[in-house]
Each structure stands twice: as C-alpha cells, then as structure tokens.
Amino acid sequence: MTTEREPKSKASRDGTGIKSKEALVIGGGVAGMTAALDIANQGFKVTLVEKAPSIGGVMAAIDKTFPTLDCSACILTPKLSEVAHHPNIDLLTYSEIKSITGETGDFRVKVHKKARYIDEDNCNGCNDCVPVCPVELPNEFDENLGFRKAIYAPFPQATPHIMTVEKKGEPACRATCPAEVNAQGFITMMRHGKYDEGLEIFRRSNPFAGVLGRVCVSFCEGECERGMLDESLSIRNLHRFLADYERMNEVAPVVAKIDKKDRVAVIGAGPGGISCAYQLAHLGYPVTIFEEREEPGGMLRYAIPEYRLPREVLDEEIQRVLDMGVKLVTKTKITSIKSLQEKGFKAVFVATGTWQSNKLGLKGEDSEGVIHAIDFLESTCRGKEITIGKRVAVIGGGDAAIDSARVAIRLGAKDVTMIYRRSHVEIPAIPSEVQDAMKEGVKLMLLTSPMELIVNKGKLSGVRCIKMRLGEPDTSGRRRPVPITNSEFTMAVDNLIIAVGQSADQKGVQTDVECSKWGNAVADPITLATKTPGVFAGGDIVLGPNTVVKAVGHGNQAAISIDRFLRGVDMMEGRAKHRHRVQSYEVDKEGVPLDARAAMPKQGVDSRVRDFDEVELGFNEAMAEEEAERCLGCAVCCECERCVTACQRDAIDHNMKDEVIDLHVGALVLATGYKLFDISEYTQFGYGKIPNVISAMEFERLINAAGPTQGHLLRLSDGRKPKSIGFINCVGARDVQKGVPYCSRVCCMFSIKNSVMCKQHDADIDVTVYYADIRAFGKGFEEFYENAHTRFGVNFVRGRVGGVSQVKDNGTLRIQVENTETVKLMEIEHDLIVINPGIIPPDGLDDLAVELSMDLSEEGYVDVRDTILTPVDTPIDGVFVCGCADGPKDIPDSVSAGSAAAMRATIVLSKGDE
C-alpha cells in the first residue's frame, strides 16, 4: 500500500494553526539537551526522547574536551541533572519515534517506549541488582572493551539514574517448551557453577528435572539457536545433570506450606496430574491425587523401561511433590467426578491418560504371540516374567515401539525388527533412542506395513507385509505412505508387538464431562477448563497419546486456571501468548568459535543389552559446565530473577510491556547526532585484526578514570604500557572512494587532544600524529595545536599513512608513511596505533526523514534551508535541527546550534493562543 503524505511546509506563519505549545526534541546528546533546556527555560513544555537508556550522548563517554582539556563528564553532569529535574522537561529514554504526522504547530507523534523492566519511580539506581545478575556482555559504553551485566546503568552518572534490563524477548528454547521451562535461565546459572540456583529455576515450571532429563523429547533442542551455528545445546542432559548433582550432594528438605482452604482433586498420578498438584501446592492449595494403580507415576512408571528411567529418580521427584503437602491416594479408581465435588473438592483436574492400546485392525490380532506394547511394557515394568521368542517384530515408529524393541532385546530376543510405514525422516521416536536401538541390534524395516497376520494352530507364525512409498503430505503434514503393488512379502516371527498408538478408555471418568468421539475430554486449549464448571482436564486424556513434557505443561496451565477459578478471577486474561520470540537474526553469532555438542557417555552395548541398568550415564561437572558455556544467551536477560530478590524497592518487573506514547507538539528539534565510520573497512590499517590498532573512542575509554582500565593507558593485548603511540587522521573522512568526501571536522583537534593526554599521562611516551593537513579553525584551536607541538613535544608528520602491519611477536606495529615535508618515505614502529574515525549520519535518521517527508542531503544528513542565514531550519516548517544531525560539529558548535534551534522552535510555539 502506498500512502501519499501531505507536504508539511504549507502551514501559516501568522500563528493560526499553532495548536500545541509544546516541543519535542529527538536525541538526548549535548545538543538535544541544550535545546530542551533552552525551550524549557522559556516556559514551554518539552519532551526529550532518547534511544539509549541514558541521555548524555557521546560526550558522556569522552574523557576530555578540546581545546581547554576540561573533563567532559564534569561539565556535562550538571546539565544532565538539570534536564532530569527540570519541571518543564518530560524525559523519555529508551524510546524511539514511531511516527510523525501533522504540520507546524500541530504535530502528532507516537513514541515507542521500550520496556526497561524497571519501575522508573521506584528504582533509585542503587546497583544492588548488578552483582547478582549472571549475564555478562560487552559494555557498549566502554566501546565493548569491558563487560556489563544484563541489568545495567550505562555509566555512573546515567540520567535518569535508574537501571535498565536488556531483554530481547523470549528465547527459542523457552518459547518451544510446552512446560515453559526457562532453559536459558538454568543454563546461565550452570555457566557460573550455581547448580542449586539452576535447579530452582527449572523447578519453577517443572518438578521433573531428573525424569525429563532422561525421557524428554526436547522440543527446545530442535529450535535452539546454537543449532543455526553448529549444533544445538544438549539442554535435556544439562537439567538431568542438575538433578544428578543434587542427588550426589545434600538435598535441601522440602517444607510443606499449605495455607489455603479450597481443596482440589487430581485424578491420575501421571506427569500431568503431579505437575498440576505441584504448582497448586506451591500456591498453598491442599491437593489430593487419586491414582488407580498401586504407585504414582503413570506412564513414567508403567511404560518407560528402567534402562531409560531408573525408578529411584522417579520416586524421589514424586516424593518431593508429596513432601510439599500433596496427598496421594493410590489403588483408588474414581468413577464419578460429581462424587468428588460432593466430597468437598472445589476443583477437579482430570489427567487419566490414554491406556488403551490401538489395534491394527487385522485378523488374528488376539492370537497367541501377538502382544500390545502398553501391556508388554507394563508387564516388564512390574517385573513380571515374560517369555518372548527369538524373532520379534514391532509395528510402529514411536517411543513405545522403540522401547518395546529394546526391551525385547533385553529379554533375549535375537532378531528384533521394527516395521514402520514411513521413512526415517518421519519416525516420531527420539533420534538418539533410534540410534541406540540400532546399536543394540534392532533392525529398522522402513516404508513397510503389515497386511496380514499368519496364524498356525492359534499361534502367530509370521506376518505378511507390503512395501510403501511416500505420497503427498496428509493433514498431519507428514507424507502419506502409499502401498507399492506386488511388493508383498512374508516374514516369520515368533512375537509381534503392536505399538501403533493408544486411546482413551471409552468408559473412563472423563466421560462425566464433554468428550470427543474418540473418548478424549474436550477442554479449552488455553485454560483447560471443560464445559463443566470447576472441572479441568489435561495431558493425554485431552491430547491423545503425547509427550511427557506436554502433560507437564498442561498440569502447569491447569494449576493457573484452577487458582484463578477458585479466586473467581477471569481465567483467560493475559494467557494467550504474545511475547516476542527472539528471532535468529537478532542473535549475534559472529566470532563464536564452532564447538560440537557434548556427547552423552553411555554404557557399552554388550553389557547393556543383558540387563535393565541405565544406558545413559549422565554428564560430569566439567562436561556440564563446558556444554552450558556454549549457550548463546539469545534473550540477553535470562529471567533468573536474582535481581528481583536483590531489589529492596520492588522496582523490577519482568512482565513489563512496551508502550506507545502519543504526543501533540507544535515544534520539533532533531538532534539525532552521528555515528562513527566503520574503520575496519580500511583493511590496510588492520583494525579488528591487529590487536594493538584501536579506535579513538576506545582510546577515550582507556584513558578515562571511569573506563575499563581505571584510566591507565595500557595495551589491551598484553597489558603493557605503550612507549610509542601513533595517531592516524582522516580515516573514513575526506575519502571520495568511501563515499565520505567531507571533513569530519573534529578529528584533527581530537587527535591533538588525545596526543596531549598521552603526554600528560606519561611525558616519556613518544607520540606522533599523522595528518594530511591540520584544521585548527576554532577559538583557541591554533594555540592548542602550537602548544601540543612546542610545550608537550608531540611529533606531527604531514603525510597519510599507507598501512599498518604487526612486525614482532611482542605486538610492535610498523607503519609506512611519506613525510611530505621532507619527501622521506619512512617506516616507523609504534606500540599502539589510534585511528580517528570520520563522522557519518546515525542509523535511523533516514527513517525519521521519511516520517517527516523530508529529503536528506547527498551524504545522508539533514539539509538546512540556508546554510548561512537559517542554519538550524529544515525545509519542513516547525522542524529544526542541531548538533551533528545536519553535519559534523564539535561540542561548542553543537551547543550553539542547540540554543539556536531552541530559539527558532519557541518562536513557533509563542505564536500559539494563550
């Protein structure tokens, strides 16, 4: 869609149409601050919008100003504080302009205020949250030389004096997990060796760290961003390690804290039921779980073989839930939900699962030798004696099929074949399980389907199969298998295990509520409420046979619904997921060294097929820590909520949302500043490749007392004091070939100032400035240049540098330059090279120009109406410009332009009606 915008410069100059007497300043650098203060001091309201968490702009990061060598922070800080406390200034930091419409005197502006997850009124910037934050990332304010935390204030004098949490959204791992386990959270804790804290984070949303650490299908690993780089993290095995670590060490006792009155009944002690009870017990509800069988655990206990899930792990994790005050009643089959409600249970959660094995629908399915997987696995789990023949075929490709096949091997079958009608791509079982089964001798017969069971004297003797090919995808998205004519064959088998899915018991307790024709309970997909008030259903009984982690997810969601139901609150509110999922392009993977995922140590094949001992042995501490280190930390903040605990003023809110603020203003001032040219484009200088070639802003932070080295001038490569430093000017400025033909206007004086600062740090340092010509045009500049030369002893060489190379192992650099005054081609060695980058327009200025229907200059800066007579007026009426938004400026010029723009803006505002 194209929209034609009205040109914005036709508004009247006589004062009609001035509908708002407020101003908006975009950009909180020194120019924008000056403009805002000057407008505010004339009695007009002004809103100052800044993209970064703090105002102050680049000046806040600079060490000293030229030519007076004033401390930049010292002269800026009073201004910062004045802006923050001015009654006429409304400060919007961490905010960006979303749209601008209207014309002079009547602009409508939408500002996107990003969530900083901090209550601006409550936070006092005390920094208590910073030491507890486990997420470290490069500090942009220190030019990425040092580190900061995910919760941070960019610099000590940051204004407003509050913290900001950098959070990009929800990481893929957590977004994909049905139980919403905060994988990035517990993995971040593991990186710091804080296993107990990691486990605590896991257990917020899932009581089964050890169980699911062994049997989860790990949807998270399929989506893990690291997989886009090399291999996904072994997330499942990491939380298994957390549980193992706790078992190996002391386990903190669980304290029951049931303080509510409303009793809740859970039918079925499977993973769904237990999770629901666990979450409700957390909230203080008295919960009773009713279980038909002898022991709790459901499919975990009666279907998953012991070599995958040792029962003591399961027992311990269930016991933890019971220790929280959950009552368990076993060997009790509930036949009526109503009777439970009559007994005083205010809410009921039905999680009875699907225990009926599906039939193949072939003749002879009830003959001797045909076994259904669920019965087979349950018998094995109960330790019943089962005799099985030498040749076993398993029909199906799910986890039950793989488990059955591997159990059959362990029971002594010599020839176990899995018959699956699709290909290895569609096979639904966990890939590592399929691999392990094959290693143990299970044969995979893919694209094959049984047609007929051959029964001899009431006993199964063989199975006739047909080969399949894959056709078009069906409704499930998988390609439909199509039989190949004349491809039938017969294979002799002693036993056939049927593992083609399970269904709900058609006569089960769930039939008290509305059910589908397959006998599954019908529940709202988000709240899990059934049509009967107070009755909720989840897990396999709703979904049909599904994964453990989905059952846990349902248990969690049901608990939230039940709590809200009992409190009489709307169950739906805020439940639909609309959090931004961190996208692949948002995760910086550049420079991350490739590293394969940690392999799980396993018991040897020969010994493991003889018994039911656990196959996967678990990570050791070193492996776990190394694997956790691979996490890319996609969302930045990992929501471990350590900061929430540390904050004494209750100022952190991790659920905060972005806001859109509507402004109505009469005049706009653009003070969007600049960015520095990317000097790594000059390959001959080796910036980014040679360690001791740094940019001027990095140098500023290095000599700054508040910088990463506390103001000690050191080489970052080896921590040595440089004895000789070279400054290279005009890089990314006055370069026709690179598209920046203009002078950046500050780099001559900037390099002179920095060279003087070197000398002030240590007079013995040999400092040389390489220049094309020195442009010392401002007040006091020429004298400063003269002083640098004569008083401080800085060398000046006229001649542009050809290239920089590292010549010695100790990091010494060599440059080639022609001294054009002496016509001498010289090779000079330095310990440190500082490159002065040119100034270019900032990111986003072009977007802003589109919003204003304003043309930018050829170089990408704001054009002014007349460079000589109206130097701060843009071609759009009511829009003014200052600072570097219309071209490179030094600080004094930026400030003058700020004042000028403020005056021009208030002339517009003052024409408005009183």
Binding site: Q684, V736, G799, V801, Q816, T820, L825
Partner: protein
C-alpha cells in the same frame, strides 16, 4: 551518489599547469587535478619501498607544476608497476597508474622511450615474446625436473604472420 556528478564539481586543490591540462585530456589522465599531495600513494607504493628515486607523489607534483620536459625525459613514469595499490587507497580517487600511462603515451609519441623499455619492445616485435633469449638450458632442465614439457612449441611462422597482418601490414611503426 553519482560519481560523475562528484567529479564535475570536484574542487581543484592544486596549482594547475598547461602540462597537467594536457595530461587531463589524455585518456586516463582526467583525475590529476584532484590530488591533494597527501602522500598516501608513496606510502603505499611497492616500487617506492625498494628504490629511493621513485616517489609517485613527487612525480604527480612535477606534472602539476608543469615540469613537462623533466617528466617526459625521465625514466620514472616507466617504473610504475601498475599494481594500483595507490589507486586502491587514494582518498581523492586519483588513478596514478592511468596518469603515468598517459605520461608514457605522450613521451613515446615524442620519442622519449628509455633504452631498456625500447629493447624489450624490439624483442617482442622480433620474437613474439619477451624472454626468448632467456629460455636457457637451465630453465629447460628446471622444467624437466618439474615434469613439464621442455619444448614450449613456439611457432615463429605464426609470429611472422601476426606481424605482417597487424603491425607491418597495417602500416604501423
């Protein structure tokens, strides 16, 4: 930005002379007036790094100052290896290799060709390649050691045909 527009309004930073105007009109010489004598070319020059007499910036300066005779009779414009490193780095987008090419064209037209260069040209004209005399027994042995053919299969008849058709026959010197 359009480079063409930029070139037209590009300021002339330097003194201009009739010789530099002359170079400007030669193919490849158009950018000479843009030079600001910053020294980036000399600092980047491979030839300058091995011989003190060759300083590309200095040579451009002489052209700009109109030292026509000195430049044309000098062997210096012939020393440029056309590696174009200077052009790659020149922040004013001056094509030194092209300018020196233009200088050599003028010099050749006026008969100033260094003896060494003339010899090379003669050899090529005669033999069709530069190194016929250089192809010695030693090189033959080296090629043999490397398992390469020692007979390069040079065809003098073909060279003669080419010369007749394109050079002698075309009435060109």
């Amino acid at each position: 930005m359009s480079k063409l527009d930029k070139t037209n309004e590009h300021e002339e930073h330097t003194p201009s002379s009739s010789f530099s105007r002359e170079i400007e009109k030669e193919p490849g010489g158009a950018d000479i007036q843009h030079c600001i004598q910053c020294g980036m070319c000399t600092a980047s020059c491979m030839v300058a790094s091995v011989t003190e007499k060759y300083r590309p910036r200095k040579l451009i300066q002489k052209i700009l100052l109109g030292m026509r005779e000195e430049v044309l009779t000098s062997e210096l414009p012939w020393l440029c290896m056309t590696c174009r490193q200077c052009e790659e780095r020149c922040q004013e987008d001056v094509s030194l290799a092209e300018i020196f090419h233009a200088v050599r064209n003028i010099a050749a037209r006026e008969g100033y060709i260094p003896v060494g260069v003339q010899k090379v040209v003669d050899t090529v004209m005669e033999d069709g390649w530069m190194l016929k005399d250089g192809y010695s027994d030693f090189i033959e042995d080296d090629r043999d050691d490397l398992g390469l053919h020692t007979d390069l299969g040079w065809n003098n008849e073909f060279v003669k045909k080419i010369k007749k058709r394109f050079i002698d026959g075309g009435n060109k010197k």
